[in-house]
């Protein structure tokens, strides 16, 4: 029986070891070496250098800047995405029957769309003489050069990421709202609880597992913030939108393979820590 079962498992597992588990392990080992692109043809020149890559990372102001940008992105972006998606899900769940599918498709459309294509469109909307500033000028406001301004570049990208992620959470919340008890809501209404009280005393507690799940997956996604800055700003202006994943990719591009691996493991660690913290945080409120 074991042999037959392994026959079913083997094709996947072979590919898994070669293209997934192996590289994850190799990346970890690499992060303690001085491997660069030049060593690929002469692998015996590679030395173990212990924690040097990691120590260098935390002394590099650009890496620290990338970490803080990523943190801002997560801390601002995740709660806003959750609040907006919850708002949409609640509205859809409150007896909206007309156009329900149309709404759902519209809100979900950005999720399935290529980020490169979307970035190009957004770039045109956000450029100095673009649509957004044209719209603002109607009200006499002269908008900034959104993507070239150190103050506005990161918020612009955060807005774009929120726009792109609302759909996923909306679907998850709609599923979660199915589990909110109708009797409890009616009982609360009998007791004279208004819509706001009902929301915080009945809906939120019932949604806690869903909220936890949403926070974790959105957090993991936002920590890996890469494509938006890569396509829209290249991490600029003045590193204002440089993210940890972009920093890693840039180091890879410079041929600093081991250093890039170390940076990617810092990001990985961040993901693990964030998941654990959010678990703790939302569990303890019970």
């Amino acid at each position: 029986m074991t042999w037959i079962a392994w026959g079913f498992a083997a094709p996947f597992m072979i590919l898994f070891v070669v293209f997934m588990a192996g590289p994850i392990f190799a990346s970890f080992v690499m992060s303690f070496t001085d491997l660069t692109t030049r060593d690929l043809r002469s692998p015996f020149n590679v030395n173990f250098i212990g924690l040097e890559n990691y120590l260098n990372l935390f002394q590099d102001p650009r890496f620290l800047k990338a970490l803080s940008n990523t943190a801002v992105f997560v801390i601002v972006g995740v709660p806003l995405t959750i609040v907006l998606a919850l708002l949409v899900a609640l509205a859809l769940n409150n007896g909206i029957n007309k156009f329900r599918t149309v709404f759902r498709v519209g809100y979900y459309a950005p999720v399935v769309t290529s980020i490169v294509a979307i970035a190009i469109v957004w770039k045109f909307i956000l450029q100095p003489d673009g649509l957004l500033n044209g719209f603002l000028s109607i009200f006499g406001v002269s908008g900034p050069n959104w993507l070239e301004d150190t103050t506005f570049a990161l918020p612009s990208l955060i807005a774009m990421a929120i726009w792109r992620n609302i759909g996923t959470l909306m679907v998850i919340f709609l599923a979660g709202l199915q589990g909110v008890g109708q009797e409890q809501l009616e009982a609360a209404m009998m007791d004279g609880a208004g819509p706001v009280q009902r929301f915080f005393n009945v809906v939120v507690p019932a949604l806690r597992p869903t909220l936890l799940f949403a926070a974790v997956i959105t957090g993991i996604g936002f920590l890996q913030f890469f494509e938006e800055p890569f396509v829209m700003t290249r991490g600029g202006p003045l590193d204002a939108t440089l993210s940890t994943a972009m920093y890693t990719f840039n180091q890879f591009g410079f041929g600093n393979y081991s250093y890039a691996s170390a940076a990617s493991y810092v990001l990985f660690l961040g993901i693990v820590v964030l998941s654990l913290v959010q678990f703790r945080f939302l569990r303890q409120k019970d």
Partner: protein
């Protein structure tokens, strides 16, 4: 389920949000039919004044978007097939067969779900270049033939199928392979559909890996071509760029609208887009 009378403010919230969500798509579509001069004109026109197909003609004539489109399709089809075959097989073993090492194996595969893509990136590139697969279809396809998520999805679905049908087939003397192919797989339609759509979409939109591995134009996928053109000498050809974006986006939007229930199902089954 709450089913009370909808209030007008709900519609205001939903419609405002809806417009914000789809507006970039409308703008992209309209822009793709505008001339370059019109897109840059000072008071912006919403609708194209003289709708033109010139941008699309250039895209598939002067620029080689036919090749990029074909590359995207070829890569996405192989990646999707691989995921269906390999994930279903392992998913079946994990759900319905008992064997030594099963728990470890499942834990190992699930454990990689949280690992960000940049972690495997460098070693994968070193591996691909040592195998001589840079700038080739196998180089674009091989690393994506399996995903932990696919296994998770198939395992969850196959777990929900009753054991009786498998027992009955075993008593009839069917081999495990026969059971898998003739009994299990025909029942996995919805799960396979979900997996196929999610994988196809992921591959179609995949950007970073093809950007690095496809080094010459004849291997570019659509997002790579679009990204490189958008910063190259065509960068100021706004109408052309919008048309390029339409070519990338519209096929997946069409698939999504036609098969949206499977997307919702996929999220319900796995919780991940």
């Amino acid at each position: 389920m709450m089913r009370r009378k909808p209030r007008w403010w709900l519609y205001i919230v939903l419609v405002t949000g809806f417009v914000a969500m789809i507006f970039p798509f409308i703008w992209m579509l309209l822009g793709s039919f505008k001339t370059n001069a019109e897109i840059r004109s000072a008071p912006l026109n919403f609708f194209p004044e003289n709708p033109t197909l010139e941008n699309y003609v250039q895209l598939f004539g002067r620029l080689d978007f036919t090749t990029y489109f074909t590359n995207s399709v070829v890569v996405a089809v192989f990646v999707t097939l691989g995921n269906i075959v390999f994930s279903s097989m392992l998913g079946y073993a994990l759900a319905k067969l008992e064997f030594a090492g099963k728990k470890v194996l499942f834990g190992l595969v699930l454990g990689t779900l949280m690992v960000p893509g940049v972690v495997t990136f460098v070693p994968l590139f070193v591996l691909t270049s040592n195998l001589g697969l840079v700038n080739s279809y196998p180089g674009l396809i091989l690393p994506f033939l399996i995903t932990p998520l696919g296994v998770f999805l198939m395992r969850q679905f196959i777990l929900s199928l009753p054991d009786d049908i498998i027992e009955a087939a075993r008593i009839d003397g069917a081999s495990e392979w026969r059971i898998f192919l003739r009994v299990i797989m025909p029942l996995c339609g919805p799960a396979v559909a979900t997996l196929a759509i999610l994988t196809f979409l992921g591959s179609w939109n995949n950007f970073l890996w093809p950007l690095v591995v496809a080094t010459s134009e004849d291997k570019y996928t659509l997002p790579v071509a679009l990204a490189l053109y958008s910063v190259g000498q065509n960068a100021s050809q706004y109408g052309l760029m919008m048309a390029g974006a339409v070519v990338v986006v519209v096929p997946v939007l069409a698939i999504f609208i036609a098969l949206q229930r499977y997307f919702v199902q996929g999220i319900a089954l796995t919780g991940i887009k």
